[in-house]
Assembly symmetry: C2
Homo-oligomer: 365 residues x 2
């Protein structure tokens, strides 16, 4: 059911850290040929690998459009439930529900409005009506009540929570004119605090270079590894446009304290070398009026920070790049009790995001 007239904060709910224990992970099945090359055949292989890898550690719920449903059902993957959830594309981190808990065994969810990363201003496609219903459908399946914000646009990939009162986001995304152009930064911050049950928002200036799809989502550049401690996508080469973005984030983070007054410890993870779209990759994408094009030579917003935390493992995108091993090693040091599961994820990157963007955790309240 939809909850009216109260907020998560007023009801004692907050967004737990992604590192808190999960009941399951949701994924949406990709199929649109104007975003995923070769009618999504290549992407589906990698999504399947992500699903099966997570399913080794926790249940996975895969939402599928009606047309592809029988095909995905027939895969009969262990620890995977295949449900019908119509969608315009498969970025459940962004269109899905944000679950909140109250620390007393109860769970609810926030159902933000979704407008395909910018609506008619600079969104990626039209329409996005089915995406905007994904959160309600997740809530129905999980049987949790939801706070619906019909007047506030937000994607889950634009926020991280440490579960102890601090939210990470980027100015580049949340202040972009395609979302809540009628609101001030202070008003947007107030919404975040109220609906995520938090006390402080840390505003990193910008996301990853060329993350134009999402207008610089935080989940591609920075992620909590513990309260007061983050990983940051880094670039050593000062001539690369990524450098100034990473440096600005570092300077900002080192100047801040979190909601509990802790200084922020920053662990760098170097980004892969520049990855660009090949001619073959570009030509595999159907050209459709109004959909964001995937042009040969365009640089992709590749980053290891777009990994996903599930129970007992880190699902890490890798790129057959010289920096892969350092990312694996750094995360293994940060999470000595977790299995690091690298997955070659260029095909997800070609669609505009990575493993964190295609997953959404449901906490175990």
């Amino acid at each position: 059911m939809r909850i009216n007239n109260t907020t998560p904060k007023s009801d004692g709910f907050y967004m737990p850290s992604e590192l808190a224990e999960h009941r399951c992970t949701y994924v949406l099945w990709p199929e649109r040929g104007d975003n995923w090359r070769n009618n999504a055949e290549n992407a589906q292989e990698v999504f399947k690998k992500v699903i099966q890898t997570i399913a080794k550690y926790e249940p996975v719920v895969v939402g599928v459009n009606p047309g592809q449903y029988p095909h995905v059902l027939e895969m009969n993957m262990p620890n995977v439930q295949v449900v019908e959830i119509s969608n315009n594309d498969s970025w459940i981190r962004d269109c899905g529900a944000t679950f909140v808990v109250n620390g007393r065994g109860n769970m609810r969810a926030v159902d933000w409005s979704f407008n395909a990363w910018g609506g008619l201003v600079n969104g990626l496609y039209f329409p996005w009506d089915q995406d905007d219903l994904v959160a309600a459908k997740m809530c129905a399946i999980e049987a949790v009540n939801r706070y619906r914000l019909s007047d506030f646009i937000l994607e889950g990939g634009s926020i991280h929570s440490d579960g102890e009162g601090t939210i990470l986001t980027t100015e580049e995304c949340l202040l972009d004119e395609g979302r809540n152009a009628n609101m001030t930064k202070e008003e947007i911050e107030a919404k975040l605090l109220e609906y995520l049950g938090a006390e402080k928002v840390l505003w990193i200036p910008k996301g990853i270079y060329m993350d134009e799809d999402t207008n610089g989502h935080v989940d591609n550049i920075c992620q909590f590894v513990a309260p007061g401690k983050v990983v940051l996508a880094w670039e050593d080469n000062q001539d690369d446009p990524q450098y100034e973005r990473s440096k600005a984030a570092l300077d900002y983070l080192e100047s801040q304290t979190d909601a509990k007054g802790r200084k922020i410890e920053v662990v760098k993870i170097h980004v892969p070398n520049p990855i660009t779209i090949t001619k073959e990759e570009s030509e595999g994408v159907d050209i459709v009026e109004g959909t964001f094009p995937r042009r040969e030579g365009d640089r992709l917003p590749a980053s290891y920070v777009n990994y996903y935390n599930c129970n007992g493992a880190v699902i890490l995108p890798v790129f057959d790049d010289e920096h892969d091993q350092a990312a694996i090693d750094t995360l293994q040091e940060l999470f000595p009790d977790k299995v690091i599961e690298p997955i070659y994820a260029r095909e997800i990157l070609l669609g505009g995001g990575n493993i964190h963007c295609i997953t959404q955790q449901v906490p175990r309240p």
Copy 2:
């Protein structure tokens, strides 16, 4: 997940009585204008009343096609979850999953093949592909594994279980040439026993007069009220074609014992006076090639026995008929601790069934 190579019986599972405690009830939302008059507007009102009435007693999950989803979601009904389940029509008793339990807290489900009550022989519409996926989708939402029978056609409305080893069905339906024409009665009985975890099948000869849609489903003529005890749709008037059907059922039941060796006690519930389709009702149904017509003057298979047992209540179809009160009184005597909830259900009857046909219980294992 789909379970291969075993059966409910071999795994220690059986179908509990509908009277055992439920976790919830599933309903599908009606919309097809070639079965429900006035583009299902009238039927939707009654379905909504059924949903809201059951939701007073236990959670209800409503499965909706993508197009009507936002509309039903917006109703924001208490204790009701609105999920996406594409369907060809809204008879979840027949196309939905049959849940089985093992008495040790575990639940699974049987996912029979569905062919719209007779397939290309005498089915009601084509295609039925979405109906046949409903059971799998219910299982995914409930996170239970399922036994899929790709080689055996059955509708849930053609069986009742007492939960103690005895199954009620009708020869008229299960031996009809539109379902499992390649199987003998003995082979069909063996399937029922194996997949419902039962010991004995009671074969009532025929269902309600003019129940041509379903070929005489048992759930319109007879239902367990306890192990060894049933209600039977009855007709006193020996000139009415219903009489010989009810009399044949009575004679058969009184000649039988159940799986535990009990004689069957029969309680009669008189059917309403003959109800026929009016000109206005017939004209409200869209004419579509290949869909079963609803003709003015056709007699409808009206019966009180098509009631639904939920936790704490009996949801009873009534018809503004002189026999309504006797049905209410009889059921109140049979279930002194339950609330009898009569709902004027002519609009569901016009579509070919009644309240039992549009509901499907999920046990609390």
